[in-house]
């Protein structure tokens, strides 16, 4: 049995490289932190990177693997941040340890967000493409509007989370976040690299064929929405323990879009891509804030917008494809090492899991096609069978 396990793709280096890196980063930064060598700003940046990774990876599950466009991810995060942290604050009056409060509230916030994920998943069964996108966006805004008007959460002022916020004196939050990132990666990759992940990508590739193969489309769509919402909720709880107050303004659809940008730039269906994009975008945002003096703050958006447009055009423009191939890293490498990898070597590698889904054509995500089964109504049955 163990031999089988070790033989499986899970233990190939390329499939666990991301664990290794995240784990290494956690250890290195933890050591640095314990020796006092880590500035607070970097510790905080790490927390932001951590929850961004969780958000991006979980959204990738919905957009990249299931192929449904969701613009409401910040809404799930909002639920986790508000309700999860609220629970944590209540717990804090009984339990002294912030870490334990955090872990319990993480589960609570995640489960609550997952419940809402289920509710949002229901329309996903009937709607596709832009229609689903606007419904998820609407959901995010509804959550935000309701939460900001409830007196328990401090109304428009937001909920003060000072009681459970991790300060310098507490255990470094980023370690908890990064350990969670590893767990999330494990859970998400395990799902993706299993028969269930295959079923999910099958639905994305061709829903009609998936149905004809007996795949329970309803179950898997709901499952993915619930799964992804859970992690977004967890990320929200981290947010609540990282900063105070938890304010509704943060969770607008603009933030959902920012997460989507991470997913798209990282590559649809590429988990490592999401990790890298989430890390880089968070760093870029912080750096732009840090180094642009007040008067030039408006430039930040300008630069961000230009980078965004430039990157997307560079990555996606059909006309640039040939140019990119000519200058790509692979082409250069091939030129340098005259010895070419035989195609069979690549092909016979059964671990093409990650690579293959990135080939998804994104127009399959954004199409207005109405689901089969709803697209027309046949005439009423004629009486008498004639």
């Amino acid at each position: 049995m163990i031999k089988k396990m070790l033989k499986s793709d899970d233990f190939k280096l390329k499939n666990c490289i991301n664990y290794i890196f995240v784990a290494a980063a956690t250890v290195i930064f933890a050591i640095l932190n314990s020796t006092g060598g880590l500035k607070t700003s970097y510790a905080n940046l790490l927390v932001q990177i951590g929850y961004s990774i969780i958000l991006a990876v979980s959204l990738n599950l919905v957009v990249g693997f299931l192929g449904e466009l969701s613009l409401g991810h910040a809404g799930f995060m909002c639920i986790g941040a508000y309700i999860g942290t609220f629970i944590s604050i209540q717990l804090n009056t009984v339990i002294d340890s912030k870490v334990i409060c955090l872990i319990i509230s993480m589960l609570c916030g995640g489960i609550l967000a997952a419940f809402f994920g289920f509710l949002v998943g229901l329309p996903a069964l009937r709607l596709k493409g832009d229609y689903l996108a606007i419904v998820t966006l609407a959901f995010g805004e509804i959550v935000r509007t309701v939460l900001k008007n409830l007196p328990w959460f401090g109304k428009a002022m937001g909920m003060t989370t000072g009681a459970v916020k991790f300060t310098k004196k507490d255990a470094p939050l980023f370690i908890v976040v990064f350990i969670t990132v590893i767990i999330v990666l494990f859970l998400v990759q395990s799902l993706v690299r299993s028969k269930h992940g295959r079923a999910i990508t099958a639905i994305r590739d061709n829903e009609i064929a998936a149905k004809a193969m007996g795949i329970n489309v309803t179950f898997y769509k709901l499952f993915v929405f619930v799964f992804a919402a859970f992690f977004a909720g967890v990320a929200g709880v981290f947010y609540g323990h990282y900063t105070t107050p938890v304010m509704y303004t943060f969770f607008s659809y603009n933030y959902s879009i920012e997460i989507l940008v991470m997913v798209v730039l990282g590559g649809m269906g590429s988990i490592n891509g999401s990790i890298i994009a989430a890390t880089l975008i968070t760093i870029i945002n912080t750096m732009l804030q840090k180094y642009l003096p007040g008067e030039l703050a408006a430039l930040k958006f300008l630069i961000y917008a230009l980078i965004l447009i430039g990157l997307v055009i560079f990555n996606n423009a059909p006309k640039l494809a040939a140019f990119k191939e000519a200058v790509s890293f692979k082409a250069l490498l091939a030129k340098l090492t005259a010895k070419k990898r035989r195609p069979e070597d690549i092909l016979n590698d059964p671990a093409h899991w990650d690579k293959i889904p990135t080939k998804i054509r994104m127009d399959e995500v954004l199409s207005t096609d109405i689901q089969p089964g709803n697209e027309y109504v046949p005439d009423k049955p004629e009486k008498g069978g004639k």
């Binding site: 049995m1 089988k4 396990m5 499986s8 899970d10 859970l187 395990s190 799902l191 299993s194 028969k195 269930h196 992940g197 295959r198 079923a199 990508t201 099958a202 994305r204 590739d205 061709n206 009609i208 064929a209 998936a210 149905k211 004809a212 193969m213 007996g214 795949i215 329970n216 489309v217 499952f223 092909l347 016979n348 590698d349 059964p350 093409h352 293959i356 889904p357 080939k359 998804i360 054509r361 089969p372 089964g373 027309y376 046949p378 005439d379 009423k380 049955p381 004629e382 069978g385 004639k386």
Partner: protein, 256 residues
């Protein structure tokens, strides 16, 4: 009667007043190779869509091994034992060949593995994965695609894509296999090859096969019985050569 796998009773559907299929009565027996022929627009694919739950019939009923399947969803019908291929190929294009077949194996009881055990990587997961892979290779061997198993489905040539669709449908372990123009776009050599494969499937798996085909050589060389459709109604039915030589059929085809 027990050897009748598929039976339809006055099966029909109309779209907004247009009767696409009307009063179709089929009886397909076990291990039979049954052909469904007719000019374009005769309603052949519509019948397939009715039988697989894509459309719900407006009249009539159909039974698989005596069990009525009206009103079931596509997923349910597949699990009851009807699998199909598509006229316009519908593979999972961004997945490798073997993964396409693995998706077909998804619901087989012997490969049961709950999402929880997969996500938590319990031993069941590894066991089923391994077993599924073996079975998938076996199935690919039948259609001569084992060597292509790690290629992307969309990179296969047309003929192989058709064969892969058959393999994928076969993977769902059906009692009845519906093939929608399996030889379309193939050259004579490939068609010959395909005929052998279809026969092999029937013999090795005791499979009952209902197929739509325009290639008359293919049909007459393969099918035991055919139903000829025209404008949604049955024109002729019976033993292959007999039905195809029916004067009504020749009239419909030649247009005389």
């Amino acid at each position: 009667m027990s050897d009748v796998v598929l039976r339809t009773e006055n099966l029909g559907i109309s779209f907004g007043g247009l009767k696409a299929v009307q009063d179709v009565n089929l009886e397909v027996k076990k291990k039979q190779l049954y052909g469904l022929v007719g000019p374009n627009g005769a309603g052949k694919t519509t019948i397939f869509n009715l039988l697989t739950g894509v459309y719900q019939p407006t009249t009539g009923k159909f039974y698989l091994n005596g069990e009525e399947l009206n009103g079931k969803t596509q997923e349910q019908i597949n699990r009851k034992g009807i699998a199909r291929t598509f006229q316009n190929i519908r593979l999972f294009n961004n997945m490798s060949v073997i993964r396409n077949v693995l998706v077909g194996l998804h619901n087989q009881p012997e490969f049961k593995c709950s999402p929880v055990s997969s996500i938590l990587r319990l031993p069941t997961h590894y066991k089923t994965e391994e077993a599924m892979r073996e079975r998938a290779k076996e199935i690919l061997r039948i259609v001569d695609l084992e060597d292509e198993r790690n290629n992307l489905a969309c990179n296969l040539p047309y003929g192989k894509q058709r064969k892969l669709e058959i393999a994928r449908a076969l993977a769902t372990n059906p009692k009845l296999l519906l093939l929608d123009e399996p030889a379309a776009g193939m050259n004579p050599h490939e068609t010959e090859d395909l005929m052998n494969i279809v026969r092999k499937i029937r013999d090795d798996y005791d499979m009952t096969i209902l197929l739509i085909e325009h290639d008359m050589k293919f049909v007459s060389g393969l099918c035991d019985e055919v139903t000829v459709l025209n404008f949604g109604t049955v024109l002729a039915q019976g033993e292959t050569n007999e039905a195809l030589n029916d004067p009504e059929v020749i009239k419909a085809y030649i247009g005389g």
